[in-house]
């Protein structure tokens, strides 16, 4: 959801005098941010459904591998640290933006994306490991729901990285304007959201799997 054309008043007030942060200065910016929050609400329903499915199918092993057979908790912990740190650096990026530092913003965004990419590489390794152990998506209902839950999150991270790169290019081209600030702020929201989802995955998939499974 990128910047849209204004159809009502372009500016709520003169941007130079406004106390509002850059991303909130146009009505369209405000609407895009609100719309994205609502979209995140839809995303919560989507992930809640996937968690529900995992909750129902998560113990139906069909004679196949169980959580304790396949989970690599050390790697998962590193993944978690990577993603949580990336959420922190993403926060620093938005803080830099609020301070008007384009350099700081882009620098922290790049760090965020590198951490995200590191997370992704580890997740792909994890999937490869599972398949190597004979635990594929087709093995059991438990593994189907595991792969789809993790995969949906991983796909979100992948798309987020691609999207953020596009936003960084636009920041380089245009600098900080109300439009680019709105886009940056929105991808920040998205990134934090993915982090929150991961906390639930870490708790309800991995930790619970090791305790119960």
């Amino acid at each position: 959801m990128s910047a849209q054309v204004n159809t009502a008043h372009s500016h709520i007030s003169d941007p130079g005098k406004s106390k509002l942060p850059l991303e909130y200065q146009t009505l369209q910016g405000q609407m895009n941010i609100l719309g994205f929050w609502i979209f995140l609400g839809a995303e919560i329903v989507l992930f809640a459904t996937l968690f529900g499915v995992f909750g129902v199918l998560g113990t139906r092993y069909a004679g196949g591998p169980q959580p304790s057979d396949i989970y690599m908790i050390k790697e998962v912990l590193i993944q978690t640290v990577l993603l949580l740190t990336s959420s922190f650096t993403c926060g620093l990026a938005i803080t830099s933006m609020r301070q008007g530092s384009l350099k700081g913003l882009i620098g922290w965004m790049v760090v965020t994306l590198l951490l995200g990419a590191g997370f992704l590489v580890m997740e792909i390794n994890e999937f490869a490991h599972y398949v190597h152990e004979g635990a594929t998506m087709q093995t059991s209902a438990y593994l189907s729901s595991l792969f789809v839950l993790l995969g949906t999150h991983g796909l979100h991270v992948t798309l987020g990285i691609g999207w953020a790169i596009l936003v960084i290019i636009q920041l380089l081209q245009r600098g900080l304007t109300p439009q680019t600030a709105t886009k940056t702020f929105i991808i920040g929201l998205y990134w934090h959201f993915l982090d929150v989802i991961w906390i639930f995955i870490f708790t309800f998939v991995y930790l619970k799997g090791l305790v119960v499974g």
Binding site: M1, S2, A3, Q4, V5, N6, T7, A8, S10, L27, Q30, M31, N32, L34, G35, I38, F39, G41, A42, E43, V45, L46, T49, L50, V53, V56, L57, R60, Y61, A62, M137, Q138, T139, S140, A141, Y142, S144, S145, F147, V148, G162, W163, L166, V167, Q170, R174, Q179, K183
Partner: protein, 664 residues
């Protein structure tokens, strides 16, 4: 029909089975599709209309034009779904007919259900919302005009993908609910049900975007003075419906995604083997599916509220209780899904809970019915066609509601379940509830959109044929159901004694269809011959859409109206405030530019979806990259729109009212 369209593997399709063959009905359809395409392409080329079509319609981001495109598509889908219905009625008109075989019948009741709910009712209502909501809240467009166009094109591409199934590859045949394990690969090995999973996914994304768009539009784009508690009831119902869409559609997204995983990639979500759980599908489906029926019924309630208030010349009775009722209905709609499968072993405790929540819905609905009745009390009622549809709605919908309470009782439901009693019940809710509302809305808002009314006399024919036909079709089905006639059965034996009622029902269907023909003729007649009145306010309306010209100028309002009370336009007329336009009030108006991207996205989604249906994964992946390309292009699109000059606004406004000189 050839159902052995199996073994369609990666790039390994048997071309002789690509087109569905062997059925004269399908052959006829194929020929007429080819002829229609040739006719449309030839006509556009001959009259040199391609450029006009592209510039004025396909790339438009104007909410009114998008609304019109939604409604045209929905009317076409109504025709398709109606044909399916007529075929079913023909097949069951006599015992042991062989007009359709069992497989063909399965496909037809599946596509009838899907098309009528998702590709007729939904787009019809979303089209009306598109046209009316920005006008009712005094805005110049929706919050995201281009996203709005994308929503339309995703719906359209999903609808087209679903519709080609009956000539290419075979239709889905597991019912509109597509219950597992029947809908799984084991029991439905063809590609028909792939169409279901993928086409509905594509149009579902569009619907979700519509929901977000209207929430933000209604929250952020209301004109000055339009507080939440001054919003017209259609706007309120649209708002609550949009929230329901955002809350419910992602569940369907997941369910369809998992269905696709099961069918295409061999996972075990809903399968009988590998630990899968078929009941999980039923739960997920109805967790979305029940809110979905309220998603279509709430805007319809909004339409009745507008029409009844206008033609009773009274303020809507019990405005606040109306809002509380729709909020209550929306809330309860998320808590009743198990009532769709009481008989599938949930146990008495669970069934009782859902039985009670289901019956509770009758309370806010009852409040609404009484409010409509009290709105009419002592009102100056005008019997226009729109009002007649609204009046017919109340008793007919009541029958649907009362039988709904009967079905809500879990113990009794063991008797009604899977019979035609249920089928009659939900047709009595959806047809008076939604279809009558859509008809009322067409007659009511038509002059606003086009500047002339639909013919009231042909409207009477449309009304009586449809209402009588409807009751003749579905009333017998209550009794057939109570006598034990099961749904989705393609035939019955003469010994059952069902034959007379089935015949009455079939004749009723023909009468109802002739009502639809009368509507189409009415549109044709009115477009050709109706007097171009161009009256801004033909019905003596109460809400802001009547405050601007008919047809509505592309910028909606030259001067955004200021709202002082509920029924804003009525207030303006009573107090003679804000009706005039002075030259010095005219400002430059900022409007969004057209865009070809939404059309492009619709096309690549269609192609990617088509390849996925046939499980040609490499091609689907390539088309998927086209989707990403479209998103990237959109990200770099900084089009700021354009400005309409004061002179142009003045010129357009002068064509329907006097623009007074400056007041200073």
């Amino acid at each position: 029909m050839d159902i052995n369209i199996t073994e369609v593997r990666l790039m390994n399709i048997k071309w002789d089975e690509f087109f569905v063959t062997g059925d004269p009905l399908i052959l006829g359809a194929q020929i007429s599709i080819v002829l229609a395409i040739v006719g449309i392409v030839g006509g556009l080329t001959y009259f040199k209309k391609w450029k006009w079509l592209w510039k004025e319609w396909l790339t438009t981001v104007d909410h009114k034009r998008i609304g019109i495109m939604y409604i045209i598509s929905a009317v076409l889908m109504f025709f398709r779904g109606g044909m399916d219905g007529l075929l079913m009625k023909a097949q069951t008109s006599r015992p042991e007919l062989n007009f359709l075989d069992a497989q063909h019948y399965n496909e037809i009741f599946t596509t009838h259900g899907v098309i009528m709910i998702l590709f007729m009712a939904m787009p019809m209502l979303i089209g009306l919302m598109n046209i009316i909501i920005p006008l009712q809240i005094g805005a110049r467009d929706v919050a995201y005009p281009q996203l709005n166009a994308l929503s339309f094109w995703l719906f359209f591409s999903g609808a087209m993908l679903f519709n080609i199934s009956f000539v290419i590859g075979g239709s889905p045949d597991a019912g509109w609910t597509s219950y597992f394990p029947l809908a799984g690969k084991e029991f439905s090995p063809g590609i028909g049900n792939n169409y279901y999973a993928i086409a509905l996914q594509i149009s579902g994304i569009g619907t979700l975007m519509t929901g977000i768009n209207f929430i933000v539009t209604i929250l952020k784009m209301r004109t000055k003075g339009m507080t939440l508690l001054r919003m017209p009831m259609f706007t309120w119902t649209t708002f609550i419906t949009s929230i329901l869409i955002v809350a419910a559609f992602p569940i369907f997204t997941v369910a369809l995604g998992l269905m696709m995983m099961d069918r295409l990639y061999g996972t075990h979500f809903f399968t009988l083997s590998g630990g899968g759980l078929d009941m999980l599908w039923a739960n997920l489906f109805w967790l979305w599916g029940h809110p979905e029926v309220y998603i279509v019924i709430l805007p319809a309630f909004g339409i009745y509220s507008e029409v009844i208030a206008t033609f009773s010349r009274k303020r809507l009775y019990g405005y606040n209780s109306m809002i509380l009722s729709i909020v209550g209905i929306a809330f309860l709609s998320m808590l009743v899904w198990v009532h769709h499968f009481y008989t599938m072993g949930s146990g008495p405790a669970v069934n009782s809970v859902f039985s009670i929540t289901t019956m509770l819905i009758a309370v806010p609905t009852g409040i609404k019915v009484f409010n409509w009745l009290f709105t009419m009390r002592k009102g100056k009622i005008r019997m226009t066609t729109a009002m007649m549809w609204s009046l017919a709605f109340i008793p007919n919908f009541l029958i649907g509601g009362v039988t709904g309470v009967m079905l809500a009782m879990a113990a009794a439901d063991y008797q009604y379940h899977n019979t035609l009693f249920l089928v009659a019940h939900f047709h009595y809710t959806l047809i008076p509830g939604v279809v009558f509302a859509v008809f009322a809305a067409l007659y009511y808002w038509w002059p606003k959109v086009f500047g002339f009314r639909l013919n009231e006399k042909i409207g009477r024919w449309h009304f009586w044929l449809f209402v009588i036909g409807f009751n003749m079709t579905f009333m017998p089905m209550f009794f057939l159901g109570l006598d034990g006639a099961v749904r989705r059965s393609y035939t019955y034996s003469a010994e059952t004694g069902f034959a007379p009622l089935f015949l009455v029902s079939a004749i009723g269907a023909v009468i109802m269809a002739s009502g639809f023909v009368a509507l189409c003729y009415n549109m044709y007649w009115s477009i050709r011959y109706a007097k171009r009145e161009n009256e801004a306010d033909p019905w003596n309306g109460r809400t802001l859409e009547w405050a601007t010209a008919s047809p509505v100028p592309f910028y909606n309002f030259a001067k955004l109206p200021e709202v002082k009370s509920l029924d804003a336009f009525w207030h303006m007329k009573k107090h003679n405030e804000g009706l005039e336009l002075h030259e010095d009030e005219i400002e430059e108006i900022h409007m969004p530019s057209n865009s070809g991207l939404p059309v492009y996205m619709g096309i690549v989604f269609f192609i990617a979806g088509f390849f996925l249906v046939f499980e040609w994964h490499v091609l689907a992946l390539i088309a998927g990259l086209g989707v990403l390309l479209g998103l990237a292009l959109r990200s770099f699109d900084y089009d700021e729109g354009y400005h309409v000059t004061k002179e142009e606004v003045k010129q357009i406004e002068s064509s329907w009212r006097t623009v007074k000189g400056g007041r200073n």
